[in-house]
């Protein structure tokens, strides 16, 4: 947990500002990686869909992240492939999945969560690369985005799992369910903001 926290902090300290995914071309390799990483960490729909989905997964099974990981990874690749065809309105799909994930977490749903991990990966990756052609975005930037997405998913699942295992009281699961419901509520508000043109 300490190593994960240190890795997260160093990642956060090294991120560059993402300006509505207008990726800077010509940046050096490290700059490309950190730019992609920064997009994952600073895009609210991406963060929301991952937190909501992986809290839900950890609520269903505190050891569920390793089983969900292949589906998340497959979703990342799938999202990167379809991103060129997705206009910026694809963010609505991401927020819809975040809303659904939050509701499932509030209900402590246990079935079909592999599909949730897949959809979270697809929508997160798709949102990060939306509107850019496949060859336009450097590989290292895509890699940075992928690592950022994996990190948020892993930390969300780990925090949920750690809370449930260290504090095995009914209130712990309730607090996580409340957190999931807040993710759903915030997602709903963001959907309204997107429809209104405020985002």
């Amino acid at each position: 947990m300490r190593r994960l926290a240190l890795a997260l902090l160093s990642g956060l300290a090294s991120t560059t500002q993402a300006q509505a995914h207008a990726f800077q071309s010509g940046a050096d390799a490290y700059g490309q990686f950190t730019e992609g990483f920064g997009v994952a960490l600073t895009d609210p729909p991406i963060v929301l869909v991952l937190i909501a989905s992986f809290i839900t997964i950890s609520l269903a099974d505190p050891r569920g992240f390793p089983r969900a990981l292949p589906f998340l990874a497959a979703g990342l690749v799938g999202g990167a492939l379809i991103a060129p065809a997705i206009p910026d309105a694809g963010v609505l799909a991401t927020l819809t999945i975040a809303l659904a994930a939050g509701l499932l977490g509030a209900l402590r749903w246990t079935k079909g969560l592999a599909v949730l991990a897949l959809l979270a990966g697809v929508t997160a990756s798709m949102t990060g690369l939306a509107g850019h052609s496949f060859t336009e975005v450097p590989l290292l930037l895509k890699l940075g985005l992928g690592v950022g997405i994996l990190l948020i998913a892993a930390v969300s699942a780990a925090l949920g799992a750690m809370a449930l295992e260290r504090f095995p009281y009914p209130a712990t699961a309730i607090l996580l369910r409340v957190a999931a419901s807040w993710c759903a509520a915030i997602s709903l508000m963001l959907i309204a903001f997107v429809l209104k043109g405020l985002m």
């Binding site: 309730i174 409340v178 509520a185 209104k196 405020l198």
Partner: protein, 192 residues
């Protein structure tokens, strides 16, 4: 318990800090966070939800504070999108009266009924928050702010509602319900 009550009192009496409010992420979060807190009509209803949930016991104690923010977000979305909802302020004031009376009279409703009632009132509260989104505020931070503030107010109500577990504590909780209903009535009649 004494320390918790002292902390809650200090939090309620704390004066707001107005540095850099109104703009950007920080300003948006503060705007959203303080929107329910600075409106006593919002505060009493949200605390009442927590009180009533604590009074009804498990699972209402956590289902009601989950239902309210979720349905409130629906109302908030309607407010942001400009969908008209009649009698918003009346609905908000009435929520204080009704929820306060439910606590004061120790009404034990079935869970489904409680959830629907709380949900109906949540729409009005959410619509007011959404409609009053300040133009300078960061909308995402605003949304996050008022959802979190709502949840914390429910938590305060639940905390106070745990007094039902101590001898004669139930009367304190019911008295709080009376107070909430009175405040709601003042807003309903235009006295506040």
């Amino acid at each position: 318990m004494t320390r918790t009550l002292a902390l809650l009192t200090a939090l309620l009496l704390a004066s707001p800090a107005f540095a850099h409010t109104g703009e950007g992420i920080t300003g948006g979060f503060l705007s959203g966070f303080t929107h329910p807190i600075y409106g006593w009509d919002h505060v009493v209803a949200m605390v009442a939800v927590g009180l009533w949930g604590a009074f009804l016991g498990s699972p209402a104690i956590w289902i009601l504070p989950i239902v309210f923010p979720l349905v409130m977000a629906v109302g908030g979305a309607l407010g942001v999108l400009g969908v008209p909802l009649p009698y918003v302020e009346t609905g908000i004031a009435a929520s204080g009266v009704v929820l306060g009376l439910l606590v004061a009279l120790a009404i034990r409703a079935p869970l489904a009924v409680a959830a629907v009632l709380v949900g109906v009132f949540a729409i009005f509260h959410g619509h007011a928050h959404g409609e009053e989104l300040p133009e300078a505020a960061n909308p995402i931070a605003y949304g996050v702010g008022f959802v979190i503030a709502t949840g914390l107010l429910h938590l305060a109500g639940i905390g106070f509602g745990f007094l039902t577990k101590v001898p004669n504590g139930q009367w304190l909780v019911r008295a709080a319900g009376v107070g909430i209903a009175v405040v709601g009535g003042m807003f309903l009649t235009g006295m506040a």
